[in-house]
Assembly symmetry: C2
Homo-oligomer: 228 residues x 2
Amino acid sequence: MTENSAKNRTKSAAQTKSLNRDTILNAAVALADERGIDALSMRKLAETLGIEAMSLYNHVKNKDDLLDGMVDMVVAEIELPATNIHWKLALRQRAISAQEMLLRHPWASMLIVSRINIGPAMLRYSDASMGCLRAAGFSYALADHAINAIDSHIYGFTLLKSNFPIEEQEYAQAAEQFLPMFPASIYPHARGWAEEVISGRHSGINEFTFGLDLILDGLERLANGDQS
Amino acid sequence: MTENSAKNRTKSAAQTKSLNRDTILNAAVALADERGIDALSMRKLAETLGIEAMSLYNHVKNKDDLLDGMVDMVVAEIELPATNIHWKLALRQRAISAQEMLLRHPWASMLIVSRINIGPAMLRYSDASMGCLRAAGFSYALADHAINAIDSHIYGFTLLKSNFPIEEQEYAQAAEQFLPMFPASIYPHARGWAEEVISGRHSGINEFTFGLDLILDGLERLANGDQS
DNA sequence: GAGAATAGGCTTACACCGTAAGCACGTCAA
DNA sequence: TTGACGTGCTTACGGTGTAAGCCTATTCTC
């Protein structure tokens, strides 16, 4: 009895909070941000919302639908390319904004590349990028290739970076630890690299814009019809 | 009794086949290639080998160890950069070889970017790439950035391609199907792109070498000290 | 206002997962 | 001969996604 009324109160409280798809998606994103995508189970997510796992299924079709919703939610955080500036700068800013989002949500890159993403935010993002290059005179084919090259760099770079197990400020001391794994007789160049990092002559940090600018500069030359 | 002796026979047969780490890794790679990485469970893998799941643990520490072994096994398939040719061509061939391997084993990209890979094959691969650029006069820092940019493209491109749900020869008809999802009033450029593919003026296929050559050409300019 | 339909919680149950614990047995060294 | 070891096995546990169906508060229809 007492238990029952307690349950009812809980239920009422939950209802006043009006559980809905957006609340669930926000909680899922927060949980994945804080504890990693592996910790995101339907049961744990429900727990953070004070409900039971199966109740989630009234608002999302299944876990895949949940993940799709999460992806579109964070994709909406990406700045669209500006329309009033040169295409190269617009795409550069768009790429950096995307990369910043992916570092804020380290689980997102993997989800984006491993599923079909046709949520409204992703469509708008793709459409705006294509529009930016079309306005600059690119053919559909060249624009397609350009966007694919840039996106490959965005996802590849952030995946490598997000999953790298060592913090950037600890590279030097980590390299020192790993040095015994690189005998000069077998891996001379890996060893040389490690020694360079230990000495401080090379930070070991990779900049997103290094590869990005190689690609953008190359595209600009193509657009201008340079013979290289 | 009969059952028991049958069991013993099975066991003897299994023993004559001499289960070992390499046999297991080969079976795991084959299973992942044929049925996808999600179908690779310890139980299913054991079944294909005619043994019980727990027997695998005599040869691999745990599932992570199994995955690490699989990764290093397929990384060994990558051609190392040749030493007797220009660095640009050597790295180009290495990148193409890596991409071909990753398309043969579509599960591999995801594993490589999402775990620490310090198996012997991966170390040899990294060492050879660094050696190739060092021999060409690159500083450690520039070589590091160059390799990171190329690897980002390799993994990003293959991940996007492997997980794209439509076969290349079906792009045109698929675009026709998806056209209603792109109302011209909301997604004009995505719609234009789809119409271009439907018309056959653009295949919609993205070439790995497009982005790769942008990066390599850019690196060559950097190496030559061009002012752009 | 009465009764039906619906929405959105809930419990229970199932098949699958990775793997800890420990048993059974064949092989081999001392 | 005996004991240790290697390598198979069974059992069991806590986790997963989710199908099926129950319960009740709200909303719609007459």
